[in-house]
Structures are given as structure tokens and as C-alpha cells.
Symmetry: none
Subunit: 402 residues, 2 copies
Amino acid sequence: MTDIHDLTRQLQKKNDSKIVLLVADGLGGLPLEPGGKTELETANTPNLDALAARGTLGGSIPVLPGITPGSGPGHLGLFGYDPLQYQIGRGVLEALGIDFDLGPNDVAIRGNFCTLDGDGNISDRRAGRIGNEIGAPLCEKLDQIQIDGVEVFVHHVKEYRLVVVFRGEGLEGDIHDTDPQATGVPPLDPVARSEGSAKTVKVAQEFLRQAREVLKDDSPANFLTMRGIAKRPPIPTFEEVYGTKPGAIAVYPMYRGLARLVGMDVLDAGQTLSDQCDRLEQAWNDYDFFFMHFKYTDSTGEDGNFDAKVQRIEELDAAIPHITALDPTVLIVTGDHSTPSKMKSHSWHAVPTLLAADHCRYDGSTSFGEAACRVGGLGQFEAKHLMLMALAHAGRLEKFGA
Amino acid sequence: MTDIHDLTRQLQKKNDSKIVLLVADGLGGLPLEPGGKTELETANTPNLDALAARGTLGGSIPVLPGITPGSGPGHLGLFGYDPLQYQIGRGVLEALGIDFDLGPNDVAIRGNFCTLDGDGNISDRRAGRIGNEIGAPLCEKLDQIQIDGVEVFVHHVKEYRLVVVFRGEGLEGDIHDTDPQATGVPPLDPVARSEGSAKTVKVAQEFLRQAREVLKDDSPANFLTMRGIAKRPPIPTFEEVYGTKPGAIAVYPMYRGLARLVGMDVLDAGQTLSDQCDRLEQAWNDYDFFFMHFKYTDSTGEDGNFDAKVQRIEELDAAIPHITALDPTVLIVTGDHSTPSKMKSHSWHAVPTLLAADHCRYDGSTSFGEAACRVGGLGQFEAKHLMLMALAHAGRLEKFGA
């Protein structure tokens, strides 16, 4: 099987087209009972419906049927990177989530403050769930740790959670967690799973030795455990594989981070969808491809708030005219996964997807929703193939073979 | 991922069934505007519609979503050969296109006559687009070139285009083009991309040395450049992988060549679809599988002539009773790709596909068109899987596993 990107490298073609990929996080939903409507079908979406009428619909399968993705694999798939091939460690995602600009020589670690008893055993794996007012200054103290030959960064995330990054040559991230996932036992020593990570193990040991000293008088957070120790995977850039110059307009750090991971320029935008549309308009001539991210369809789904998700979808709909006014060659509206409010979580269900372009094969759809997408012209497709369709409809792929 | 042919080798079963694969080149189309009909949907096709009512429909994805195939990958997919695995060089396709019987020891090259100025630089990459009356005799002169240890064939294609074939042991085709894709510079020397092609490079150098001498007094075509230097890929034969004896009935050389590439017997036929049907009837008892090719649905699409394509589809429809009168066990009507007249080119859109057989699951279709195919019983499938469906419906595949 040929790598998708070997194909796009070979076939990519430049032109003046503009592609907009609008990702409504967790867009897909479920009806609350048989015969009912989903959140998207319930919402009043005149603009998306008009777009459906001049576009083609389908269902995006984020990874494989039945596989529920996190934000990382969900977005990598939409960007055309096989999420099973490019796997992102938890530490990396945690670093991306606080907007840390992770480089290729960085090992990122998700840390949890914990409480050690007098015997050095863990008595609380989350240090009594300390608040930010305690966690943040402790991270500032740990950030002072110095280790020969590497740079050390310690950033607070939230409550008892932190990110540790080691930056330096020769560091690999193939190391077991030090969290024993149990109380009454000591934290584990960092142990390499493969030879290349021996240097990182030494650095981690030294960091933990100093951290124990730094935190010894703090209670209840007198130590930390390490999880998801990882480097960012080597990922070819979006521009290299597709020949398009990409800009990302996302409010939440995690999505800016994922965009940065594939080499997108991350554009500053305000906090609202309207701000993001303004930014899109300003940057219109500077990029060929725009990734726009809207978070609240996911968060309302996670809250199990059907009505709030409907309202957020209507908010999304209201932004569409601002985008179509720019006359993109290809406009895609989709999600990175479904987040049915009925389930209060991400799910595996196919994600409603709308592609509007002059050369799409109209499929008779007159509204944007799960039922219409099920019989739409794009069929049920793997998310990783969506970029091929985007490029094709933008006239950015040469013919394959003669 | 198991190779499809490992599976068919293991499961193939003989019986008296007959399979007909009728390929209407570039069959798929687009409506000219939202809500409109495609060429196939516009055409009056009572015979295809009746076949749809007793068959099942679907959409064939030639390579991958968004990938527009040339004729080579388009047909290999329909024949059940993964077009990403079996890639055919341009020189090979050009040779197939003039009905040259390319063997496994042949290196095929697409040549362009060009004009060299007094300094040996290219002043015209197409030698003033000379006509056939000039190109053909020049090829006859070049065909006299003799090189120790190899056979040399030079055939005229059209105007300034020719095919050069070197036949001999130890020749590989991994060589850069000699066409510099620019004027004002000399042609490039042939350079091997890998060690195995060293002998071919020497042969090519000697050929070009002699060609320069042969053509030195001809104007404007006083030299040639070489492109798409390639051998035919090693392809297992259709009969070996499927256990069926295949015959091909195609008017255009390119498609006869593609059939020959997978080991089909190429049957002489006249110029019309009616002639082809007569040939089918004559050969009915000699083969298990028939590939029939109809070119004009593609050429009218390429011309951007919606009405002419509609008319050609109606011509195709009129031939159907001639085929069904033979009572094939499985009759498939499809295309190697779409050629929407709206785009005047091949495209990536799914190709309408109809499979009629006693054991198909009727899907309620009553007409053959893109909209019906979108929701048909075959779903949207990769072209390379169509042969599995053909064999299955012909009862030619054993159960897999116990």
C-alpha cells in the first residue's frame, strides 16, 4: 500500500484556489430516542442547509469503524495523516494543550503532583487535588531545576497536573510511567523501554532527585509522578506533502498545538467565532488552506446538554455567510469525531461532513444532518482521505498515471 | 493486509459461468448545475434501466477518494490489480497504445522529435509539430538502427511522437528523461537512477549517437528526446490469479494493450459496438470472462460535449440486448473513471456501476445513474474489489475458511 503522502507529493499542483476546513469539534450526535433527531438535525441551520444543497455530504470515520478518537488522532485524520501511523504521546498532547512550542529535540512528560508518606510510599496519587493557587507556584519552583546538558521546563496545567519538558540532543521518549497506579507503594523509577532512551532516564532520575528535595517541605504535594513520556512524532509538514500553505485559526491551545505539529502557521484570533472569521478574512491572501476550529459543539456534548449543543450549532451556522462571502474554492464543514450529548463523551459514530465546491457531484441533499450524510455523495469514508477530496475539488492534484 | 490475489488463488473455483465486464470509458459525469442530471441520468437508457431493476448498483472509486486516474490505473483497478501497487510507466503505455506487443525483456520509451540549433541546443521541443507524413518516414529510418546485443524497434505514434523499444537481456528501465523540459539547452544524457539500468543507459547512448547521425540533415526534426523510460511491471496473469480464461474485445490499441498486460487474449473486432457484440457472440464458448471496451463516453466527455456523451450512452444502451441475449451469468457495466463533460477531463468522482446476476441482492433501483448508484447495493467500493464481486456472483470463489 502506497503512503497517501507519497501520492500527494507526486501529484500536487499549485493554483490560486482556497480551501477552508471548518472543524466543529465533536459535531456528530445521536437522537435521544428512536425516530428522533440529532443535535445537528434539530438545530435551525439555514446557511449550512443552503451549502448542502450546492455541495455533497458524507460520513467521516475518524480512525476505523467503532474506534473513538481523542482530539489528537481526530485532527490528524482530518489533516490527512493516518492516525494509526502517527501516534502522539500523552505528554506531547499535554504540552500542546498549554501552547508549549514543542521542538523535535523535546521530551514531554505529563506530571501529577502526589503525596508521599513517611516511608516514601504514595498516599495520594493526586496530592489531595490541590488547587491552582498551590499547583502553580510549585511548578515555578520546579522550573528552577537545572540539569547539565539539557534544558528543563516545568509548566503548570491545572490543579495537580503539570508538564515537564526536557530539551536536548540524544533524548528519546520511550520510557515507562513512574506512576504505579496504586497507593501504599513508592513511585516507580524511570525505566527505558529501549536503549535509545538511556540518556532521558538519567535526566529524569536527576530531575526527580532534585524535585524531591525542592518539594520536601510542601504538603500535601511533596512529590510528582511522570506519565506519557514522549517526543512528538516525526511528521512531514502539511506544506511539503500537499503543496499548500496552511494557516490555523483556533482558540484552544490543544488545536493550535495540533496544527503546529503538522507545520501550520498558527494565527492569533480572538475568542469568538466572529473574531475567527475576521481573522480568516484578514489572512485570506496569505494562505491557500485554512483550518478553523470551533470547540463548543464538543464541550456541550460532553456536558450532556443537548439543547446547548443545538444552540452552539446554530452559532456555527450563523458564521457560514462570513466564510462563503470570501468565496472559497472548497469549503468543508465537519468534525474530528462525534460527541453525542446522549453519551456525554466522544464516540465512534461517523461525523457529518459537507463539502461544497464547483466540481462536487451534487447529491440532492437539502439539509445538513446525520441522516442526509448517510446517503450523501461522499459515502462513508475514512477521515484520512478527506484531504485528497479537498485537494481534488480545488484542482490541486494531477492525474495519477497515464 | 493480504494481497487480493493470494486470496483469489486460494479460493478460485471452475464452473461454466460467463462473466462480461463492459467498460464504458469515462462513464461517470456531473450535472451542469445543482439539482440537474448527469449525462447518464439524462440519457434514455431503457435496457440499462431494465438491467438495473434486476441487478445491484454502486459507485466505483478508481484508486482512492480524490485521485483521478489515467487509463492505465483505471483499467488495472477494474481488472482487480491494485493500481497503487502496479504502476505502469509512460513509455509502456505509449507502446501499448500503438498495439506494440511488449515483452518482459523490453524497455519502452516515449520519444519526441525535436529541433536542435547549430550549437546543439533545443530550439523546439516538438520539432514544429511535424505532421504524420514527416514523422512516419523518419521513424522508418530510425528503425534501421542496429545495436550489438539488443533488438531496436522504432514506431511512429502521431505527429512528433514515437516509441522506441530496446529488447534484450539485462535491461532495466530506471532512467531519467533526456527531455530537459526547456529550450536553449542541449538534450540531457540518459542517466540511470539505479545500478541495474547501466546497460540500458549504454544502449540509449549508442541509439542517440546513431539517431543524431541519421537525422542530421532532416529539418526541423533533427533529433529526439526520450521520456517515460520503463519496462512493463511484472504482473501475474488474470488466468492464474482468477482461474478464468479472459478474452478482450476493444477497438483502441491502448485498451488492447492493457488487456494484454494482464494476459488476456486480445480478439480482433470491427470498429463499432455492434461489431464487438458480434465478436463476443462468436467467441462465447472459448472464454469464461470477456472485457469489452467502449471509448466514446470518454472522448465526448473530454470534448466537453454533454449532448454527445448522452448520445454515446444511448448507443451503449442499444447494445445491451445483444449481450443479455447470450445470458451471461454476470454482466457488469461500469467505467474506468468519470469524465464529466462539465470538466472536460478525467475526474476522481465515483463511477456508476451495475452488476446483474441471479444471486445479486436487488436494491430496488429502477434506473442506472449516479444518484441511484450512490445508494445502491454495492455501496461505494474500491475498483480493485470489483473482480471479487464478479467472481462471487459467478460462483467462482470457494468459501474462505471453515
